[in-house]
């Protein structure tokens, strides 16, 4: 008898546990599938804003030879061309002053866009709050990756949006990709710099024959060489300067 009671008790406990587990599970499974409080799409809002911001920064990088603003540059036709390879003295080959250019550009884009990206979230928040939503945000993980054909924006930030009705929506993945030829152009720029620093010259015409997707222009100005790597498809151009093996006008 005692045994039967005990068995029943165990069954009840197990049953309760099973039921509660199922309920918890259902709750947990349903929670992320919260219905969208409105037709608003926070990811789309942020995505567009971030894309614009990063795209502008990429353009800046290409114009300024991989920097937000040129640090050491030569002015030609009103534009400042950032030196990627520079030798202050006469006769000698240049130093590569921006090694690991991809990494540098990734960091520069990060630095350049960090505030604006935060601004994108702020705008989104403001927009939604104006519509009566409550928006909560967590910490941001933000990085940039230059990759062949595109720029990868890795953006993680947990955003909880609560509608006036109490419905909650959470978004954390704001990763996006921006089509850009910058990776290939940076490789070409690195190739130019490496060769200039070793041989004081770069046979860009031969390079163009092998890589017809690029149109490389070189202008010799006041002892500096101004390079423009133009992507034939997008017409984007990466501009920089080199000062290597400069000869004085006499002895």
């Amino acid at each position: 008898m005692k045994t039967n009671r005990a068995q029943v008790t165990i069954f009840i406990i197990v049953g309760v546990l099973i039921v509660s587990s199922v309920l918890i599970l259902i709750y947990l499974i349903r929670e992320p599938k919260t219905t969208t409080p409105t037709n608003e799409n926070p990811k789309a809002i942020v995505d567009k804003c971030v894309k614009d911001v990063v795209q502008d920064s990429i353009k800046k990088m290409m114009t300024n030879g991989g920097q937000i603003t040129p640090s050491l540059s030569v002015k030609y036709e009103g534009h400042r061309y950032n030196y990627l390879c520079y030798q202050a003295d006469f006769y000698l080959a240049c130093y590569d002053i921006h090694p690991m250019l991809e990494n540098q550009i990734e960091n520069q884009i990060l630095e350049d866009t960090r505030e604006s990206v935060q601004g994108c979230f702020n705008s989104m928040r403001e927009e939604l709050e104006n519509k009566g939503y409550t928006v909560k945000g967590g910490g941001t993980k933000y990085s940039i990756n230059l990759l062949p054909g595109y720029v990868e924006v890795n953006l993680k930030k947990r955003i909880d949006i609560v509608s006036p009705t109490g419905a909650t929506q959470s978004v954390s993945d704001f990763n996006t990709r921006i089509l850009s030829p910058i990776y290939g152009m940076v490789l070409a720029a690195r190739r130019i710099v490496n060769t200039e620093s070793q041989f004081c010259n770069f046979e860009y015409n031969g390079y163009m024959l092998l890589y017809p997707q690029y149109n490389i222009r070189r202008i010799d100005y006041e002892g500096s060489k101004i390079y423009k790597i133009i992507d034939r498809k997008t017409r984007d151009d990466f501009k920089f300067a080199v000062r290597s093996c400069v000869f004085p006008p006499g002895i």
Binding site: A88, D96, N194, N205
Partner: protein
């Protein structure tokens, strides 16, 4: 073609390497002059780092010594050094401490500092390797190998899908991870193909139709198809009816990344076969993949360029796929076509990638005109692009044409801008066998000046003369000194004829046009010097010639033709035939005189003529003494019988002497003098006979005397002429642009020849670059306000202890600070400034601008005009024939760039203390310098002593007064004509008997006073020492000597040379081909160890080394070693499990690391199994260990060497 490319690139590399070595050479010889603390500080500052050595008495040190004279030094040598970061942000710049905001290493070249060492910056994980990076700039890993000769830095062919890249293995992995569509990225990275082969490889990837379950289809590789869970049909197109897909044929075409041709597109967006309008509806053409070589127009010579029907383009043969819409080209269907990538330039068709040289005028043979530049043009995908070679002709454009098999037509043109070796050509003129060496030196040629019988010499000049800055005062000064090498004097020698008049005996041709023509050729071939034209053929005369005719108009017209390019002319790669030809042009080798310097010959001739004159003088004066003595001796003998004859003889002799003296005083010709002397002798004889024999034959005596008188009268009719030598002088000056600015705009005319400052300034004195750095930058004429320049004293241009006084609008006075007159022989510096760019001249007489003798501040349009000189003692003036009394006024006039000349003279007045010269001469310079080292083998040594005033000097081995010294020097300089910039020159040859030799030198001033006691001699001797080294310079060792292994095709080696013995300064050069055309090592001259980093290929390497010291002694040696390439991976020969440990052996010494995760582990973060051949891992049972081993050369597999599970 390939071979030529290799040769061309080798030449290029050699030029570049030489360039570096040369830069060091320049820095070694550069002086300590520093003008301003601006950008130009750097190169001069660089020069300060190396001690100036006696051996560097070269043209460069000479030049810099010259230009520093009138300037005020600003920075001491100790201030210069290498700065890690300058205020301007420049890194590793040679500058001064006050301009440096980072680390500063005083007196050191940047390459010798630790903070400016170049290395390889790399990230092994991403496979990025950057060369020539400063450690401070590298945020990742840095290795002191500037060329990144590391196995992991090797480029290989990375195949990703149907595309290939030429990357490092690390980069390949990144690409693969990005592109891979399957779960496991496959790295296909091989090193057995070149970049071109690799890029072509992408075309040959096996692709096919990947049919998806829903009958959709994609054109992919098999790997990609597997990732899509499709059915792969290799070699098929998605439109193949047999595949029954949804994809259909279309008329759309497209260009494809990485491929040359225009391709059809199917309705699913897949790439089909090459566009062929005739096959658009041919179902069979849409069945299988047809390679381009089997497609339409595969044999087309122009790769179907601009074809409306066929899209089989080939970038290497002349066409590439482009959008027909963008290029406004009509095609039969679709919107892509094969765009013609060839170019047409000046009626000549060039292939894509072809490059050729374009010039502004004639080139080579020293004929490049002022302002000209060498241009490299390139045909790039249908467009001609210009690539200017370095301005000022610091680079030349060389061209090498590949011809067809029969040699009739040009198949491909290849041009390159390479360094112009002009500096070495100029430098060679200071070396012993420089002219000989010149013939074999790249870009150098021997210019023969062959004017007259004793005025001929050879000079080494550049094949392509350099340009000079036409506006920068710092470079104008050096230009003046290079051009000054062609400032020469030819002494035309005359002797008096017997019966009057002068006879030309030497250098008569110097009086003809030939002199100016020859000298101007030499002058203009040294650089932008002399009478020369600019790029538009405008001639300006920048030379002076005295006592000889100028260049005639026909000659000048010939020079103008140099501005017209010769079609088909170009600088060839390593063409030495011209040099040999030039050498032969002067005749057979045996005809070439050993003495090249005409002055030597001229002096010898002058010496000979002088000796004759001296003998004549002795004959006229000392001769009388001899006769008198002889007479005296005769009378003391008392021989009575001959006494009468003796008297007659004495009388005849006296008459002869009297006649000679009379002849000399009358200035008779040699014939007249002889007659006069004979007449005198007859008169004397006649009178003696009358006196002795008045009783017997007085009539005879009278008759003889009368005959004598008649002869004397006749003799007086043969008057003599003043037969002094004529000095014909050619002064070569830097080129000055033509007045005005009417041609300035021509600089902007041709976008294919972009304007530069040099080019602009060469077109006119008034031309200037405006809107610099902006889009509106161009060459324009400055505004002509019609007002001549205004002059003011340049207050800072004055010697210490002197001042400008009485300054008015018309001039000023130079006087000592304490007032009064200046001391004679003190150096004098003065200058004026003009309110606009002007060319100034001065003279001691009031004369028109054109006739003024001296340039004030050089032959250039500048603002600050200075001159330096020394005033002689006025008490010497009149005795030496100059009208110089001690008061001097210099009359200055200036002309602006439009030719407006100041109407009035600007006067600079001064006076020099008059009175007897009471001071002895001062020895201001000695060559070789005191206590200098001379050649180990020398037995005698030529020395030069320079004094501040004209003097005669003597030397002896013991200290004694001037008059007791036994050895006289040769001192030929005349007052006001010192032959050295420092003063008056005396030369002699000293015997060298021991390792240390001491000589005593004294000088005596005022040589024109001859034996006068008014002359001042040095009261103390200058103790002059010359030393021989204990041992002749020798090369002790050269490294490397042993063969060694490497994992890469190229290896960075450090060539090291140890020298001993010799002088204080050792310089070493190296070559790969022998002891000619050697390149100075980078680190040499500072001690006895010399080094040079070299990038050498695998194989047997022989390096020739030649070292010399300041005495000119040299030693030669070579080293031969093999660089053996070892690319074998470390092999694991055995693996054991022992007491909880994994024990394994490698066949060669290696570092082995492991991971328990996978083969793709991070090297640094992994566990170390050991170094050497035996390796141990403390292993846990059941775990798999992934092991990778790398040898000392860096050879390691990309994945695992082995993986093993611990049982």
């Amino acid at each position: 073609m390939e071979n030529k490319k290799i040769i061309a690139s080798f030449e290029l590399t050699i030029m570049i390497v030489y360039l570096f070595a040369f830069s060091y050479g320049i820095s070694m010889t550069d002086g300590t002059f520093q003008q301003l603390k601006n950008k130009y500080t750097k190169i001069e500052a660089q020069s300060k780092i190396n001690p100036k050595t006696p051996m560097t008495v070269s043209i460069f040190s000479f030049i810099l010594n010259q230009i520093k004279k009138p300037m005020v030094p600003v920075v001491s040598a100790m201030d210069a050094g290498c700065c890690s970061v300058a205020h301007t942000g420049e890194k590793c710049a040679t500058t001064t401490r006050d301009l440096c905001s980072g680390e500063f290493s005083s007196g050191t070249l940047c390459k010798d500092t630790s903070f400016c060492q170049k290395g390889c910056c790399f990230d092994a994980n991403t496979g990025v390797y950057d060369k020539n990076v400063l450690k401070s700039d590298c945020q990742t890993n840095w290795k002191a190998d500037p060329n990144c000769n590391m196995p992991q830095a090797k480029l290989g062919c990375c195949v990703v899908g149907d595309t290939s890249f030429f990357d490092t293995e690390g980069q390949c992995k990144t690409r693969t991870q990005t592109f891979a569509q399957g779960n496991s990225p496959i790295v296909t990275w091989t090193t057995d193909s070149s970049e071109v082969q690799c890029l072509i490889l992408s075309k040959n990837q096996n692709t096919g139709a990947c049919v998806l379950p829903d009958k959709d289809c994609q054109s992919t590789t098999e790997t990609e198809c597997n990732g899509l869970d499709g059915q792969f049909n290799e070699g098929y197109l998605c439109t193949a009816p047999s595949l029954n897909t949804t994809c259909k044929m279309t008329k759309q075409t497209t260009c494809v990344d990485g491929k040359d041709g225009a391709y059809f597109l199917d309705s699913c967006g897949n790439i089909a076969n090459i566009y062929n309008s005739k096959k658009a509806k041919d179902q069979s053409y849409w069945e299988k993949i047809i390679l381009p070589e089997n497609s339409c127009g595969a044999d087309s010579s122009d790769a179907n360029a601009n074809s409306t029907s066929c899209g089989n383009c080939n970038r290497f043969r002349g066409s590439i796929c482009r959008s027909a819409i963008k290029n406004n080209f009509k095609v039969n269907m679709g919107d892509s076509y094969c765009k013609d990538t060839s170019c047409t330039f000046n009626g000549v068709k060039y292939k894509n990638g072809e490059s050729w040289c374009v010039y502004d005028g004639q080139i080579g043979n020293g004929n490049d005109v002022v302002g000209s530049r060498h241009w490299k043009y390139v045909c790039t995908q249908g467009r001609v692009q210009v690539e200017p070679c370095a301005d000022y002709r610091n680079q030349i454009c060389i061209q090498s044409d590949t011809k067809s098999k029969n040699g009739e037509s040009v198949v491909f043109r290849n041009a390159a801008c390479v360094a112009n070796n002009w500096r070495q050509c100029i430098e060679l003129n200071t070396e012993k066998n420089g002219t000989e060496e010149c013939k074999d030196t790249l870009n150098c040629r021997v210019q023969a000046v062959n004017v007259s019988d004793y005025f001929y010499f050879n000079v080494c000049t550049p094949e392509y003369p350099e340009g000079f800055s036409l506006s920068n005062i710092r470079y104008q000064a050096t230009a003046g000194n290079i051009c000054g090498m062609a400032t020469r004097t030819c002494k035309v020698v005359y002797v008096a004829k017997t019966w009057g008049g002068c006879k030309l005996v030497a250098n008569g041709d110097c009086l003809t046009e030939k002199f100016a023509q020859n000298m101007n050729e030499m002058c203009r071939k040294l650089g932008d010097c002399g009478g020369e034209v600019n790029i538009v053929g405008k001639y300006t005369k920048n030379y002076e010639v005295e006592n000889s005719p100028d260049l005639n108009q026909t000659w000048i017209e010939g020079l103008k033709k140099l501005a017209i390019p010769i079609p088909g002319q170009f600088a060839k790669v390593g063409d030495y035939s011209k040099f040999l030809e030039m050498a032969g042009a002067w005749g057979k080798p045996g005809d070439t005189p050993n003495q090249t310097m005409s002055e030597f010959k001229g002096n010898a001739i002058a010496g000979g003529v002088g000796a004759i004159g001296y003998a004549a003088g002795v004959y006229a004066t000392g001769g009388s003494l001899a006769l008198t003595e002889l007479g005296g001796m005769a009378s003391t003998e008392g021989v009575a019988s001959i006494a009468g004859f003796s008297v007659i003889a004495i009388a005849a002799a006296a008459g002869f002497i009297a006649g000679s003296i009379l002849a000399k005083s009358m200035g008779l010709s040699p014939g007249g003098s002889t007659l006069m002397a004979i007449g005198g002798a007859l008169v004397g004889t006649g009178l003696a006979i009358v006196w002795l024999y008045s009783a017997t034959i007085p009539v005879v005596g009278w008759v003889i005397a009368v005959i004598g008188l008649i002869i004397m009268f006749i003799a007086s009719l043969f008057g003599g002429d003043d037969c002094n030598p004529v000095e014909v002088k050619f002064t070569c000056k830097p080129w000055r642009p033509p007045i005005g600015g009417e041609d300035c705009e021509k600089c902007n005319d041709n976008p294919m020849k972009p304007c530069s400052e040099y080019r602009c300034k060469s077109l006119g004195a008034a031309c200037e670059i405006v809107n610099k750095g902006t889009k509106q930058e161009m060459c324009q004429s400055s505004h002509d306000n019609g007002i001549p320049p205004t002059l003011k004293p340049q207050l800072e241009a004055i010697m210490p202890g002197q001042k400008y006084s009485d300054i008015t609008d018309d001039g000023f006075t130079i006087s000592p600070i304490g007032g009064g007159c200046l001391d004679a022989y003190t150096p004098l510096l003065f200058g004026v400034t003009t309110d606009k760019l002007s060319y100034c001249k001065f003279d001691t007489k009031m004369t028109d601008f054109k006739s003024m003798k001296f340039d004030l501040g050089g032959n250039a349009y500048i603002y600050n005009h200075t001159a330096t000189f020394t005033l002689p003692d006025p008490s010497h003036g009149q005795s030496q024939g100059s009208n110089w009394t001690g008061d001097l006024t210099l009359y200055i006039k200036c002309m602006d760039t439009f030719g407006h000349i100041t109407p009035n003279f600007y006067k600079v007045s001064m006076c020099v203390k008059q009175g007897p010269d009471m001071t002895p001469p001062i020895i201001v310079k000695l060559i070789p310098e005191n206590n200098g080292i001379i050649s180990f083998d020398s037995v005698e040594k030529n020395i030069t002593v320079v004094t501040n005033e004209p003097s005669t000097c003597k030397w002896d081995k013991s200290d004694k007064d001037y008059f007791s010294m036994n050895n006289s020097m040769t001192c030929n300089d005349k007052i006001n004509k010192p032959s050295d910039a420092a003063g008056y020159v005396c030369t002699t040859i000293l015997p060298v008997e021991a390792s240390s030799n001491t000589y005593y030198i004294r000088c005596l001033d005022q040589p024109w006073l001859k034996n006068s006691t008014k002359r001042n001699a040095n009261q103390e001797s200058l103790v002059y020492k010359l030393r021989k080294p204990d041992k002749k310079i020798a090369i002790d060792w050269i490294k490397p000597t042993k063969d060694f292994e490497t994992a890469t095709a190229m290896t960075t080696i450090n060539l090291q040379v140890q020298t001993s013995g010799g002088g204080n300064y050792h310089y070493c050069s190296f070559s790969f081909s022998g002891y000619k055309n050697m390149i100075q090592m980078f680190e040499t001259g500072k001690g006895k160890t010399h080094s040079q980093t070299l990038n050498r290929p695998v194989g047997t390497n022989t390096i020739y080394v030649k070292c010399h010291d300041e005495t000119g002694d040299f030693a030669e040696d070579s080293t031969t070693f093999k660089i053996i390439r070892d690319t074998s991976m470390p092999q694991i020969s055995r693996i054991l499990q022992l007491n909880g440990k994994l024990l394994f052996y490698t066949l060669k010494n290696s570092e082995c690391r492991y991971s328990t995760e996978s083969c793709q582990f991070n090297w640094k973060g992994s566990g170390l199994a050991g170094n050497g051949q035996i390796h141990t891992i403390n292993a846990a049972r059941g775990k798999t260990y992934y092991i990778r081993c790398a040898d000392a050369l860096g050879n390691a597999p990309s994945g695992c060497s082995i993986s093993t599970k611990m049982l």
